[in-house]
Amino acid sequence: MLELLSLTPIFKGLIVLALAGLTFPITGVYLFRLNLLPLRFMLMHGAILGGAMALALQINPFWTTIAVNLLLVLFMAKTSRSMKTDAGQISTFFMVISISLAFIFIYKFNVPAKDTLTLLWGNLFTLSWTEVTGIGLFAVLLAGFQYYFRRQLRALFFDREIAFTSGINESHLYYAVVLLIAITVALAMKLIGALLLDALLLLPPVIASFRARSLRGMIIGSAIWGGIFAIGGFLLSIATDIPASSSIAALASLAFIIIYLIRKK
């Protein structure tokens, strides 16, 4: 199995998955705490729109999906605030408009639909070194953001109004969090696909929350479980010759069931 790591695409895949596994679940904690779970559906559809646009315009799909998702969350956050409506509800509208635009691009530019829909499965082994570097930098940025703003994030997640009265600029912090979620979802879709990204984003925080007594505990627990699922799932996929995304999701699900049963006892 080790000799497979000497192959550049597989080596790059391992590095990227390890970085993603250790840091992406941080945004899963954000999704839970800000009750933004519907947001990721909008972002998944946004990524498909980005993919369709990139194929239609023959530009880099990796960066296009990120750009589209960033624009979507900015519109969503702005609309939600100005209409004083729940962000989850607004994201439903943007989800629908995204997928409709995606199909318009596919139809009008004769984009092969199956190429766009490969985003649903992810494509871990086709990453360029630039993309690997980009994901690495983002992972560092995410971890740094969490560390530097840990106190303010704790206030934001506890109660936005209390955070506001404590002098924290909760509005800017909220925008920053939503932008980070958008980028994470776009990157996770590239790595393990839209259908299985919850295994990397959401299951680690869910498992960590079983024992966590503080935000710090939840973040650290999520990062550890995310790292275990990503690296373990990757090695499992090589050993058993199954897709990495499936093995990560299967491993995370198995861990969830075991921990759930232990807790139940």
Binding site: F158, T165, S166, R213, S214, L215, M218
Partner: protein, 355 residues
């Protein structure tokens, strides 16, 4: 009229005072002050807070004392004193509190407006709080609403409302459900924009750029009915009060401990916040406001989810806060029985106005 009488119980201190105020323990001078008016006594209060001296063992010599100074001397726990120039109005205060006193000169009254303002209805605590406010030794800031109107979905909830609270004063706003009490608090906090008028907290107009930078002067305690299971300890909730200030860990821990001890919640520091009772959550929330160094406290229906024991505890705590830190406090409640016991000034919000 001017009378003179000197009693030589302590002959060595009957010489002219070198300072406005001298405090001795046995023959040794432990405190002096050269300030004027009541400030030497307030300085003495600060000194005593940080010393381990027993106030009943101290002997105080003051140049001049009227009723106001007598009330402060009693409040500080001093049992023996000598006054060079004593107002007759101070004598009943000393006698009622078994203070041993002597004087050089006795006068009918001192020409001081403060002495006239201390009424016989005031007990020592009331007089102390009144004097602190008058001396500007309160944490609170003034709160002023001028012709304020607030609309919620086209409905005029607050209509040309006015009120003016001085530093360290308290106000209870009561009224029927839906009268706009919470809206009033939320507009004070800047959560709801006003359509007319102005709100001023201290020197800052709510909504102005200066206020945005300094908005942590307002501490907010909302109804503790939120089913928030966020994994956070009580100590971490109090730490939120520090906002984005970047201070050392030791200073952070110190400020959290001081605030939690002040509200009697330090034993809860490691407890998950969501597992606390309603009364404990209120204590932790007030500690958060103290840690924030808030100078105006806004409390929204603080008794909503409290049992009788919790209500009694909160009553005592608010009374202590108003006596010590003395922030300006605005409390919204419909619990008439409880606010009766709190004995703060109160106004009813009706038809969008206070009456």
């Amino acid at each position: 009229m001017r009378r003179t009488k000197s009693v030589n119980l302590w002959p060595n201190i009957n010489e002219a005072l070198e300072h406005s105020l001298i405090v001795r323990l046995n023959a040794q001078t432990v405190f002096t002050s050269d300030q004027h008016w009541l400030y030497p006594l307030f300085e003495l209060e600060d000194f005593l807070k940080h010393s381990e001296l027993s106030t009943s063992d101290l002997f105080l010599s003051d140049k001049i004392a009227g009723k106001a100074a007598a009330c402060l001397i009693v409040f500080l726990g001093i049992k023996r004193c000598h006054i060079e120039l004593l107002s007759e109005r101070a004598i009943p205060v000393f006698k009622a509190n078994q203070i041993e006193f002597t004087y050089d000169h006795l006068v009918d009254h001192i020409q001081c407006r403060t002495e006239d303002l201390i009424t016989d209805k005031m007990n020592i605590s009331d007089a102390y709080l009144f004097l602190r406010k008058r001396a500007g030794r309160v944490q609170g800031l003034s709160v002023k609403m001028e012709n304020v109107s607030v609309r919620i979905e086209e409905k005029l909830v607050i209509n040309q409302l006015n009120f003016d609270l001085g530093r360290g004063e308290q106000l209870i706003i009561h009224g029927a459900n839906g009268a706009g009490k919470t809206t009033l608090l939320r507009s004070l906090l800047g959560f709801i924009p006003i359509v007319d008028g102005s709100i001023k907290i201290g020197d800052y107009f709510v909504g102005s750029d200066l206020w945005k930078v300094n908005r942590s002067i307002i501490g907010y305690v909302h109804q503790e009915n939120i089913k928030n299971n966020f994994p956070i300890s009580s100590g971490e909730v109090v730490q939120i009060g520090l906002g984005k200030s970047r201070i050392s860990k030791s200073e952070t821990d110190y400020r959290i401990e001081v605030a939690m001890r002040r509200t009697g919640s330090f034993h809860l520091i490691e407890q998950p916040y969501h597992s606390l009772s309603g009364g404990e959550k209120q204590r932790v929330s007030l500690a958060r406001c103290l840690c924030q160094n808030a100078r105006v406290f806004l409390l929204d229906e603080p008794t909503s989810f409290l049992d009788q024991q919790g209500k009694d505890g909160l009553l005592l705590l608010l009374h202590e806060l108003s006596q010590n830190e003395a922030p300006t406090m605005v409390l919204v409640s419909h619990d008439l029985q409880w606010i009766e016991q709190l004995n703060w000034p109160r106004k009813e919000l009706k038809g969008g106005r206070l009456c």
